[in-house]
Symmetry: D3
Subunit: 131 residues, 6 copies
């Protein structure tokens, strides 16, 4: 069984593959500032021991996370995971389909919030690409 | 654009591919009894116009539905969609991975409820296979 | 302004109009047993000062409560308020329409759970009437 | 049975009665831009086949939608439906009563969020009327 | 048993101990403006008859409220109760621990939202102290 | 920093202090059977690295967990944590107060469900004591 250090190394690498490397000098998130241990645990466990499991492919892990965050109405994290989904190979069309299907399982307002999040992310990426 | 009848035919076929054909003489569900129009709309729209869209593969539609139902704590529908996921090609291992990942995005109690649902479905299938 | 005793009297009367008088010798609910003050507050405030307000008619108060309990997935209370809605003049058809509409605002699983609750109440009433 | 085109025509008319005609040149919503089919389905089904059903009057459909959106904490859609409720004949007083009652079924924070939404809508309407 | 006036007096005093006295000339909240009775009921019941009960100490009442609001994702009320918790003797460290633990029972996104709320409150207090 | 083995040992001990030692020959839970890694992670992280932190006392960790599970409507886990709370020193009265307060922050139906859970646990304990 791997050590904690090994899990953390696996997790950090995988987290960066999903979310990209943090910009140098980027401000810490409130979680990183107030509870750095949750960031560490997130690397060691959520990315190091869950997202890294072979039983489900990386793009599928993004899909189900986007679905759940849309259903639960957790928009800031949803935006991060829409970006992440694109980073691990989901297409914009697939992301739109996931949010659309949630209209029927979590209600149309959940889907509307999901599309607001998706549009914000897509627009930012277009602007960066256009800049 | 297809007519309603065509959508309904597409939807019924797809619904049966996911959930299987209803057993002959099976009792109606409360929804079918009290609001048959919702069953019809479900065929015409949810299965006929959403699940049938080419932008996301059928097993991926099962994945995201299982994820959302686990996150939302909707156990009876979750059990139906776990069976459905197996029918469209998900493995038990993939379903376990989906539920497991929800522990981190919707909380451990959501995952425990998901595993109770999954175990019930798996046990029933094993019994049917063993019978 | 009414006194607490007056509010409680108004509330008890209104609660009984909605839910019926408790059967003589009926067991206490867990809330009544563990937190009798919540039952008292419910009479003095929820029924005595909210349901009794003139700004919304009694059947409309039942409608919105049934809608919210369906959306939130609180089935035992939903069943009580479906009975209550019938007591204050809602028809079964209206109750079915309320639950049906929730399919689109809270997701189809919320409506399925609502129809399970409604059918259970309707069947019980039919049996009592038939007996 | 009506055709899809007929349902859509019924639905569009009813949606406009609830929400008003879109301002000429108004920007598309993220949902309309990313998933125009959901807007179409919303007209054909939610408004064309649900809100149009005779079993529940239009103002009552607004009431239950406002109740559910308050309970679920879906503020942008709640604001749209508060405006819509006023358009189909609800009074401000009735809307306030609906939100108030939710304090007891979904918790006081749900009601506070509902009142923030209502006040924003009411203030905008007052400003428009005053302008 | 106390009268309503006495409950209200107890409740107002206790509410002010938790949230501080309202600044003179402070704007009314939307709830106070649209439904002043809910404010009154909140004093008479929530603070006058619940928070004042001897069965649970004041800081413990803050703890459980912060936990629930984090789990439910009700950020504006969470911020008020984080300030309130500090007023009744919780330390910042305790508040961070409460939010952190919610990551495991309500999901990491709930905790991230909780830390955003906590940081905003802590930063405002630091600025006031520094000013 | 401790190793994973050390965290797991700390966590197992603490989990047993909260929930008691598993009865010899007790059946595995669905989570333990389908996803034993979540049980392991729960020991290593949730109990080994969160519940064991010095920043919040053990009974306070029980309090906030009971509050959150009541608010979220996760009854099976709530029952386990009500038992756990009693094991780490909460009184029945304190547990009743926690559930009662949730009536105002998550709605009365959440409290009713919480009292059903509490009564079931209290009755079982009384029966065991009486046996």
């Amino acid at each position: 069984m791997p050590t904690l250090d090994e899990y953390r190394a696996i997790g950090q690498k995988l987290r960066q593959r999903v979310f990209g490397a943090p910009a140098p000098g980027a401000a810490k998130s409130p979680t990183q500032e107030l509870a750095p241990d949750l960031g560490r645990i997130s690397d060691e466990v959520l990315f190091g021991q869950i997202w890294s499991r072979p039983g489900l492919e990386l793009p599928h892990r993004s899909m189900i996370t986007i679905a759940a965050l849309t259903a639960l109405g957790r928009e800031p994290e949803l935006k991060a995971h829409i970006r992440g989904g694109l980073n691990v190979g989901l297409t914009r069309e697939q992301i739109v389909e996931i949010v659309l299907q949630m209209a029927f399982y979590a209600g149309q307002p959940a889907a509307h919030a999901g599309f607001r999040a998706a549009k914000e992310v897509f627009d930012q990426l277009d602007k960066q690409a256009g800049g």
